[in-house]
């Protein structure tokens, strides 16, 4: 298979949301053929650069998926399947990108705050961000401010996503932000908040950098934060 052929197939499998050869896509004809993981490995074997794999296949595929979602041809499960597949491919590519000193999109730590165990939205955001090329560290649910501070000190993520579903637990997001300030970490990490209980006003009130309505919005917010940083 030619390089272009591999990249085209990889892009198609991203669109189909087929992580590996065992998964069903939308097109039944692809059943049993190589998925995103196998094609990414094949591409590397054929000496295709990680940048090319990302730009010509993974990102290009996700762009099509986004368009299909916008036109209501695709639904969230389709989007998540594609994002998960791209996330897996990024796990394979990440060591190579780091070794080659290629700048990645950044490290994103995400957690549901202390007292709250709701995580559907947080998990969806994590999958979508992985699919968008971020290195995501999911700290889980009911995560204390202390644990978050420890992680930031140790791993130095670029972004911190905090989620709360309940009005009773949303103040805990403010507690984490205060702890960041107390530990001199606030300027090192951008804080994005989300969850059913919170809002744009609340984000401003507690000094978060942004409120994200959902995973798609989070990707847009991150892009605008990046643009603001670049300018």
């Amino acid at each position: 298979m030619t390089e272009d052929g591999i990249l085209a197939q990889l892009k198609e499998n991203v669109i189909q949301g087929r992580k590996n050869q065992d998964e069903e896509g939308i097109d039944e004809k692809l059943s049993g053929t190589r998925g995103v993981v196998e094609l990414t490995r094949l591409a590397l074997e054929k000496k295709i650069s990680p940048e090319e794999i990302i730009n010509k296949a993974l990102t290009a595929g996700m762009r099509v998926v986004g368009e299909k979602y916008s036109s209501k041809e695709y639904f969230i499960p389709d989007m998540l399947a594609s994002a998960e597949a791209v996330g897996e491919a990024m796990e394979i590519l990440r060591p190579l990108l780091e070794a080659a000193n290629v700048e990645t999109k950044g490290k994103f730590a995400i957690a549901t705050v202390k007292g709250d165990i709701h995580d559907i939205g947080k998990n969806i955001v994590a999958i979508l961000l992985k699919g968008a090329g971020y290195e995501v560290n999911d700290l889980g649910t009911n995560v204390s401010a202390e644990k978050i501070i420890d992680f930031i000190k140790k791993e130095n993520p670029d972004y911190l996503g905090l989620s709360a579903l309940l009005t009773t637990t949303m103040p805990e997001i403010g507690v984490v932000i205060e702890a960041l300030k107390d530990n001199g970490l606030r300027d090192r990490v951008k804080v994005l908040i989300g969850g059913a209980a919170v809002s744009d006003d609340f984000a401003q009130e507690i000094g978060a950098d942004a409120y994200c309505l959902d995973g798609f919005h989070a990707i847009k917010v991150l892009d605008s934060l990046k643009r603001a940083k670049a300018s």
Partner: protein, 515 residues
Amino acid sequence: MPREGILVPNPYERITDEQLQQIHRASLQILVDPGLICFSKKAAEIFHSHGAEVAAVASADHPCWQIKIPEKLVIEAVDNAPKTVKLGARNPDNALIMKGDEPRVYFISGSETNIWLDVDFPAYVKKSDNSVEIQVPEFHPRRATVADLCQSAHVCEHLETLDGYIRTVNIQDEDITEDNKDVNKFFASLNNTTKHFMSGLTKLEQLDNVVRMAELIAGGEEALKENPIISFITCLVKSPLQFVEDTTDTFIEICRRGLPVAVSSSPQAGTTAPIKEAGIMAQINAEVLAGITLGQLVNKGTPMLYGSVPVRARMDTLGDSYGSVETSQYNIDCVQMARFYKIPNYSTSGVCDAKIPGQQASIERLFSDIVVTLSGPQFLHCAYGLLDGNAVFCLLQAVLDDAHFQMLKFFLKTPRIDVQELSVVLKQIRETVATPQKLYISYIRPVLRSGEISAPYPFEGDGEGDSVFALAYQRMNELLDKPVEHIDPDTTARIFQEIPGLLPRLNVYRERKQT
């Protein structure tokens, strides 16, 4: 393969078996005392010749007869009425098979309104912010035309949930007369839908022309009997308990030709029937049984539908209140009565009091559509597009109704719970619980496009604004742009050659040639 309709599992029943029996017995008593007043001489003679007590009413302005129908005649007629009725279609795949004891529902349009409601979407600018523009529907009533009838048949052909077509509007063009109305309404409808077509008849003299037209389309007299692409609806009994002369005579002739016919009665509780449920039920059942009896006496084995259009009176105007809750109760009672006789039922839902599409229309029609459907009538005249009782037809409303019925049909799907299914989901549960994210989302995809997940409401807008009408209007125009399969050119030519009174503009091939 005929259309599937939707089989209602465990149909909803309002009245008990004992109450059914009580209504049945009360109806039989009504048929003897007071019996019916009959304005049709033919009907009076038929009843008389079969042993009914018939006596001329001396004091009446018009010749009429008091008819007392003995129980034996009624029971025999019910026995003789077919328990399965086939309503054919130009496309045989659109045929409807109705079994009197099977709660399989077919959704059909109706009725025959004088007014057609046009829709327009003028733009309005927000007073406080000129940059904000919204489109608000405006509705313009006008007299319906044959072109409207073609349009509505065209759209109904493409409405997924609609199983059959009852003519929606009364055509009132300047060149439509009492003499040519029937042939034009039948041709306009049959030429624009391949689904079953039911209609009333304006003039008895046109019956043979209409039947001949149907024979030409179906492929001959026998072919029409095998595949009755048309059927008739007749309100031969005017409530309370009067055989009307012209409709009864028409009904008799339809039965003689052996074509399917809905024997319908439409009493209004409070005015032409007692306000009490027991009263309207005993009366409507007697009226329908009287019609069925007459039809079976004319031609044993004539396929018939037990037709019921009961309604409660509005207390403010004494007009029909189709939107009232009681109207649905009466209809469900009638569904049960028809099933008791094992005769397929023509029932009514979705007719509303609201005059234009909107919240009231949606609430009224959806309420009766749901509850009456759940009772399992076979032929549900569910008023696609009808508003203001039976006065107004709006194509936009018909498109909105289709979305309601998609939900209803999905709701009535048989539950898929069995050993195999449970074994699959148990595996999913075990696998998912073992993952860090504990989400089942990946299992959605295999069923996402299989029809196992109900579709979202098709007219949902993106923002907070209500864009239902605008989106439904867009859908309506898409359906109008979609071609329909017209009657083929040769048959059309024969129809125009043999059937008098057809408007040349209805010949699509002639129009094409001219353009």
